[in-house]
């Protein structure tokens, strides 16, 4: 277990290693993948990536919240939230190498 944070840099490096493209183009392709997913979600579409998981948009209704500092009631406006549901394959892979102590 390493507890590191992986960013775009390592993901595009992996793409670079896998396919014979330049580092720049690999980074651009990663960005394109993220923006294709983002655009689909912004349209309200569900994005299902087999053996990874699915991203779906859920509509939340208005509710009354409270400012925790002042106790004042404030309305929380209706909004859309993103929900990620990991696939069974991903859950199995995440528990394959190690388990919580």
């Amino acid at each position: 277990m390493s507890n590191e944070t992986i960013t775009r840099a390592q993901l595009s490096e992996a793409v670079y290693q896998e396919v014979g493209l330049s580092r720049n183009e690999s980074a651009d392709l990663l960005e394109s993948v993220l923006s294709i997913i983002t655009d689909a979600l912004a349209k309200g579409e569900t994005v299902k990536i087999s053996s990874f998981g699915s991203f779906s948009v859920r509509q939340k209704g208005q509710r009354i919240g409270r400012n925790p500092k002042t106790g004042e009631e404030v309305p929380i406006l209706p909004r859309k939230v993103l929900v990620f549901r990991p696939s069974q394959v991903m859950k199995a892979r995440i528990n394959a190498k190690r388990s919580p102590s």
């Binding site: 960013t7 394109s32 859950k91 892979r93």
Partner: protein, 93 residues
């Protein structure tokens, strides 16, 4: 949208690439994220969101059909927190 539709869109935007390379690119990205999480790392994609792993304690569950108590072992679950920019994009019409 499915993974193959994502691959198709990416291929259409990059006509100079072979379809099989586009497939490998997309597969590599998702495999890398999964591998990182399996190693206990987190994956942070600014503007999009962050994947991390959370621990779930063991608990006693019940077989919903028979009502029998079963031990559910402690496990890791993947978690995604939506990035600020993506969250804002979802809420602009």
């Amino acid at each position: 949208m499915t993974k193959s539709e994502l691959i198709q869109q990416l291929a259409e935007a990059n006509p100079h690439l072979y379809l099989r390379d586009v497939e490998r690119i997309v597969t590599t990205i998702f495999d890398e994220i999964t591998d990182a999480l399996a190693n206990g790392d987190r994956v942070e994609l600014r503007g999009f969101g962050a994947f991390s792993v959370k621990e779930r304690d063991s608990r006693t569950g019940r077989n919903p059909r028979t009502g029998e108590a079963v031990d559910v072992p402690a496990k890791y679950i993947p978690y995604f927190k939506t990035g600020k920019q993506l969250r804002e994009k979802l809420n602009t019409d």
